[in-house]
Symmetry: D2
Subunit: 206 residues, 4 copies
């Protein structure tokens, strides 16, 4: 547990936390600009909510262990892309691509990685677009790139994901498989509702 404590102390130093909150703040501001622009063009709100969080030291240590990495700040900065993360929830499922596309066009963000769990859902039924972006943070004498993970999903996908998390804490090991099958089935039903809502909006817009 010694390593965790050291990591915790270093992570809590204001100089370090501020790098991540600064990079996260930059991306949140970008997303607000993107939302203002898209909402004006679409004549309706596109992003419903946006939540940022900095991973705490315990979760960082757990994740490093799981990956077989040493529990140090250096390993954390190198191997983990989600120390700073932002979840973006859109009203409709076609909004996800609009937001992702606008992020790709930002000249001062570098797209490090993308995963489209909407077109290819996880086995559990999980759906979201994940983007890792690099944000340049300028200090007095040098510039550093801080990575931020952005999860973009529709309201229906968010509903499923949050209920799934609630269930996970409750799942008994014996029933795991049976429960997972059911939950994954609900994901498909919700995706159906999501698409029908979209169809309806489009038919109204026509």
């Amino acid at each position: 547990m010694k390593a965790e404590e050291l990591l915790r102390n270093r992570l809590q130093s204001p100089m370090l936390r501020l790098r991540y909150t600064g990079a996260m703040g930059q991306v949140e501001w970008k997303l607000k600009m993107v939302n203002a622009d898209l909402s004006m063009r679409q004549n309706r709100q596109v992003i419903r909510s946006m939540t940022g969080r900095i991973k705490d030291a315990d979760s960082i240590a757990r994740k490093l262990r799981k990956k077989g990495k040493p529990v140090t700040l250096e390993a954390a900065r190198e191997c983990l892309n989600d120390i700073a993360g932002i979840r973006v929830v859109c009203y409709f499922c076609d909004d996800i691509d609009l937001v992702a596309e606008a992020l790709r066009r930002q000249q001062d963000l570098r797209i490090v990685k993308e995963k489209d769990y909407v077109r290819q859902p996880k086995r559990s039924g999980y759906q979201s677009v994940h983007m890792i972006v690099g944000v340049p943070i300028c200090y007095e004498r040098w510039t550093e790139e801080i990575r931020v993970e952005i999860q973009i999903r529709s309201f229906a996908m968010d509903y499923w994901a949050e209920l799934d998390t609630q269930m996970c804490y409750k799942k008994e090991h014996g029933q795991a498989e049976h429960v997972e099958k059911k939950i994954s089935g609900y994901s498909a039903i919700l995706a159906g509702v999501d698409n029908q809502m979209l169809e309806l909006r489009r038919s109204i817009e026509r």
Copy 2:
């Protein structure tokens, strides 16, 4: 527009706004206590989110007109129950009754009115439990009862209600009936998912 302006000025006086924000703050604190208590007993989070808002002067004036009342502060305070409102979103549909029941047990809140749009959904498909509570606000020399509206709903009901609001702004009058039918149908499908999620949680808990 004269009446609106007068109403707006009076509503913006800090002395008056503070009464409503004070009563709302009291109820939000109660709801946090209720959530802490229920979450401990149920061994899971019960309330997912809680949002308070004070109705602005324009909406108050519009609602008074629609009810055929004079656009004055006195009429507003007497006829409108939702100048201060709180929306409570629970994870599961059986949480709604737990929260409502706990509110009914609070000795310093008076239940002014209740409407159960969960057991009897509106024609549109809208589902929520609405409670109007009276909160005693104590001044130097006298005590006043301020009413606060509380809307309690599940995550699935909240999803439907927010999408419905988005569609409403877009609805053309010609298609209104057709669209309403479809949206109301989705309400039933979502209620199905809501119930299945509950069944699953219960089967895990057993």
Copy 3:
């Protein structure tokens, strides 16, 4: 250190923290009402800022030890009056009495204790009015009185107090007496400025 950890865990339980944040929220709301009322009567802002804080577990443990009490939650609740505290900074020194007087008139606050360090400054030069008030917190079946400490001071007194705190961290034991004498002297000079500012305001008002 065992006792501290136990205390910390119990203090971090949401049910307990919420009692203190609830009581503090009630008093902050009262103070906002008092400020709105006084500012209207005086035709100028009376309260400049208001800051609330809940004492953390380590400070609670330290204070209990210093008082020779056991480090338990029960001892904390019985012996400590400042687990929840609010600092009120007014623009002028005659505002302090206005705020204190208005708090004394609130029917649902019980004045547990008062100390007037303005009329009788501490040896260090510290000036403020301290009030301990009891706030009734109503649960489902019973009512509890939670104590909140309110410190009321002028802007000049706040300036002195904050600089004094900054110096304290730096004070070397050898020089302590010499430094304290100087700081206490500045308190008198600042009190002079405070009074002259008040005289000037009064001469303008006449």
Copy 4:
């Protein structure tokens, strides 16, 4: 009043406000980094508080009129440097230079203008260092420089400035000169206390 309304509408557009809040957020983050760095080196807190504000449409219109400029958005963006402003209050008067110096070293901020009202106080007695910085804001296809005004002052200077503002609202025209003389005199007394506090801190540090 027509021009004001037009200006107000354009200023309230989210796309425009976000530019200024974005630039302000960038500078606030820089100042937090500067504070973390300086506080570590000095082994004490350097910045006591930091407050940002966006000028409202009415004040913008008033200032444009006073300068004999047309009341338009274009004139506002060109002629006004303080649409976005941040006030930084330090504990001691020698902290002001530390903060200003650190801002000058930031490679991605352009120093547009500086005024040192500490070394050369205004006739009224007002003291602060004012810096106008240009912040590059990157959009999809182009980069814009948004100006932000930073006022840096000590706690004692802030006390004087806030009391002066309070008095201004009260000043009768007949007495203006007499009052101004007195207030300006207090500025000198407070500067004396400020310097003595600094001397004391330095003698403790030695």
